[in-house]
Amino acid sequence: MTDTDHYESSVREKRAEKVAEFESHSKGVMSRVQHALHVTPALVPLIVLIASIVIFGLLLGSRFFSPFALTLILQQVQIVGIVAAAQSLVILTAGIDLSVGAIMVLSSVVMGQFTFRYGIPAPIAVLCGLTVGTACGFVNGWLVSVMRLPPFIVTLGSWQIFLATNYLYSANETIRAQEIEANAPILQLFGAKFEIGGAVFTVGVVFMIALIVVLGWVLRQTAWGRHVYAVGDDAEAAQLSGVNVKRTLISVYMLSGLICAFAGWALIGRIGSVSPTSGYDANIESITAVVIGGISLFGGRGSIMGSLFGALIVGVFSLGLRLLGADAQWTYFFIGVLIIAAVAVDQWIRKVSA
């Protein structure tokens, strides 16, 4: 036996000792925080949301801190919130969907044009619109899972295709709010509002919140939901443990398309009319909400609640800064800061699992 051998074996022993040791005793406050955030990813955006409401409330007083203004924010983020729910599902599978806004607008145009161009009863036209949205999602999902193309490229292409289809089909014609109100009020269903002591809610807002709560439950509590996380975390490992990855992916993109179509319906409620030029940047806005909401772009981690908080944070900053009289540029400036901060926090949290 040489000295070198002794040396090696002592290293080996040390290493073994280390593996057996529990590190939790030596954890500082920061690593406890890190651990808590890792377990509850929606915590960061929730804290930021509450902090920003408090800060703007202090700066602006009752103008901001009123049931009217606070529920106005809900109304303003409802479209982005619904689309962000769809985006979250896709991003949880380590994908990305750039076509969400296009699917939304195309679906709303189908609902409107089917009713007014062909005289189809409005409820059936709505169903057609929802079907078109789901079909668009299926195309994306099929290309991603069966053809194995990268989601970024697939949806970059389908974004253009759906948007062009929307413009070509609609001939960029707007259907006016007054015509819809007179002939097919069901198209504006999501715009119907009710008041509870100064707070104004619309059907669209209620739908957004209900959608996020239900999706949150489904993702946590059902086999399908756990499969979505598993596929996003490591598709190969998921496949080996018996998850049907292809079917899960296709179902995620289809559901995402369906939710976008609902967003299209809600869009009609919000703006009154059917307009092919609205919502073209919903893809970027929804990705912003999802990222600020703490859902990892690398897939498999984050909670869908977070994306709602993310959308609300953007809404609070937009309205708050505008009430302060700041130039509209500042909103974009701060949203940019938030995005980078959110990703930095995400990276830091990831270290706990590394």
């Binding site: 001939a171 006016r176 869009l267 009319s273 307009s275 940047d281 509209a328």
Partner: protein
């Protein structure tokens, strides 16, 4: 048999004559390059250009970007037109600065280049510009709103719904035109938002669509719920603003003014949703453009600018059913006959 032969000969002569006339037509050709081919505004433009080309017996090739802002396709189109030996190009540029080098190439190759609707940057990069006077369009609705309010104009609370934070020239001209017409000091006329008149509640951006119009209006209403005059960059933004006002039950006591003259917008004037709108004429822009190219091909005459302006003004009219003294306007009915989209 003889008659048959004679008939054939006649037919041949006629055919030859026709072919000759056709080849004469082919001598002159014009190109129309628009931002997109789906926006009703550009559809109308194409219609006007085609009509004029048919009347003058020249051929027209139309090109368009796939989306607004598609610069590359427009450059490709200019190169195609040069290669085709066209006499002139009509273009609504997506990127008014970047297109300049391609336009120079075309002018060097002897083509007449006319900017339609959107001036190039600098404006003299094109041989001529046929466009709406956007400042005048804004001024008309500003004057109208002021006259509608009468003495109350001194206490007006105005919401300014603009296009975007990048403040493109059309956005600035319309905004500053409106304020000038209303009698408000605009400070620097090259940007909006620097005014300090207390009657302006605030500026917000709409992206020129319904959704942006509604959100912007909500933001400004949250700032001051007493707003009673709303300027909007275009009619979709106005429709969105109306929805926001309706949501708080104020749709009947607020004056909304707008610019464009699209058919849905004029219909909104008819319904009293928009008080007045300034109508522009894409059909005329294109028609006049094609005529100018035909003229240039014939004897080399260059189109001249409207007196006192650095472009050819294709006209703008105020459309309203509530005419006021001192501001020329046309009825909604006439506006509907001239509307586009």
């Amino acid at each position: 048999m003889k008659t048959l032969l004679a008939g054939t000969a006649l037919a041949l002569v006629a055919a030859a004559g026709g072919a000759q006339a056709e080849s004469h037509m082919q001598d002159v050709s014009a190109c129309l390059i628009t931002k997109t081919d789906t926006n009703p505004f550009f559809v109308k433009m194409r219609e006007g250009a085609q009509q004029a080309a048919d009347e003058l017996g020249i051929s027209l090739n139309a090109y368009a970007g796939t989306v607004d802002g598609d610069h590359e396709t427009q450059v490709d189109a200019i190169e195609t037109c040069i290669a085709n030996g066209a006499s002139g190009i009509l273009i609504t540029a997506s990127d008014t600065s970047a297109i300049v080098s391609a336009v120079e190439q075309a002018r060097d190759a002897g083509l007449l280049v006319i900017a339609l609707d959107t001036p190039l940057n600098p404006i003299d990069a094109a041989d001529a510009t046929f466009a709406t006077d956007n400042f005048k369009a804004g001024e008309l609705i500003g004057q109208w709103a002021r006259a509608q309010l009468g003495d109350e104009a001194e206490n007006a609370k105005i919401a300014m719904l603009d296009l975007g934070v990048s403040q493109p020239s059309v956005d600035v001209l319309r905004d500053q035109g409106f304020l000038t017409g209303f009698g408000i000091d605009v400070k620097d006329p090259n940007k909006w938002g620097d005014e300090d008149d207390p009657r302006i509640v605030g500026n917000d951006v709409t992206a020129g669509n319904e959704e942006g119009g509604r959100t912007a209006m909500e933001n400004l209403l949250a700032k001051d719920p007493e707003i009673n005059v709303v300027y909007t960059i275009n009619e979709p933004a106005a429709a969105g603003a109306y929805e926001a006002l309706k949501a708080i039950g104020r749709e009947n006591d607020v004056l909304i003014v707008s610019i464009d003259g699209g058919c849905p917008g004029v219909a909104n004037v008819a319904d009293g949703i928009i008080g007045a709108t300034s109508q522009q004429y894409p059909l005329d822009m294109a028609r006049l453009g094609v005529e100018a190219i035909a003229q240039y091909a014939e004897d080399g005459t260059l189109p001249e600018n409207t007196e006192g302006k650095d472009f050819y003004d294709t006209g703008v009219k105020l459309v309203t059913d509530k005419p006021v003294d001192g501001v020329e306007s046309v009825s909604v009915e006439e506006g509907q006959n001239l509307c586009w989209g």
